[in-house]
Amino acid sequence: MPRSVWKGPFVDGYLLNKAEAARSSGRNEVIKIWSRRSTILPQFVGLVFGVYNGKKFIPVQVSENMVGHKFGEFSPTRTFTSHAADKKAKRG
């Protein structure tokens, strides 16, 4: 079930301050954040966030169609492994 509209989007408050500070400073540096649960707001568009995935900060350039998604969606926490490469190695 989706979140009630009257509550508005969920964002950790300190992100707003961080984003504001980055904007006013004007430098294009990565804003490190741990708050993967926060919604991406329209005022974050154009900024670069380093979203923590438990190990590293994944740089995320926020574009317009990311608005409404959560930061965590852009910073995968699991490494993908497959067997495709093993086959040739074993036969050769």
Binding site: S63, N65, M66, H69, G72, E73, F74, P76, F80, H83, D86, K87, K90, R91
Partner: protein, 125 residues
């Protein structure tokens, strides 16, 4: 034979059933169309007058997104997710389930037919 919404030629079935042969029209939409045009559900497509078929065609053109347009919209939505490189997009790219289902077993619809692992010995009884 009746051509409604491009290529679809529903047969001599009842109207709400045969409308469902159109991509994008399911049980609900088919029933709604019949109700709006006050066509009784027992009528078969070959019993419809030309005028009624025309009215169905116009209604679908006006209010429903079907066939190619709908397919394109769905494909665009998936493409948007993939271009954004968000979690759901990555799952689409890999051909794995998107909505958090388990992949340890099952998930064969998304993953396709099972492929045997090379070199794995079979259990003999």
């Amino acid at each position: 034979m009746a051509r409604i919404a491009g290529v679809n030629i529903p047969t001599n079935k009842r109207v709400p059933i045969s409308l469902r042969y159109i991509y994008g029209i399911g049980p609900k939409n088919a029933q709604d169309i019949c109700d709006k045009l006050s066509i009784p559900g027992e009528r078969r497509v070959n019993q419809l007058t030309d005028e009624e078929i025309l009215r169905i065609r116009e209604l679908i053109d006006r209010e429903y997104r079907v066939e190619g347009d709908l397919r394109r919209e769905v494909a665009m939505n998936i493409k948007r997710l993939m271009d954004m490189a968000c979690y759901r997009g990555l799952r689409h790219r890999r051909g794995l389930p998107v909505r958090g289902q388990r992949t340890h077993t099952n998930a064969r619809t998304r993953k396709g037919k099972a492929v045997a692992i090379a070199g794995k010995k079979k259990v003999t009884k």
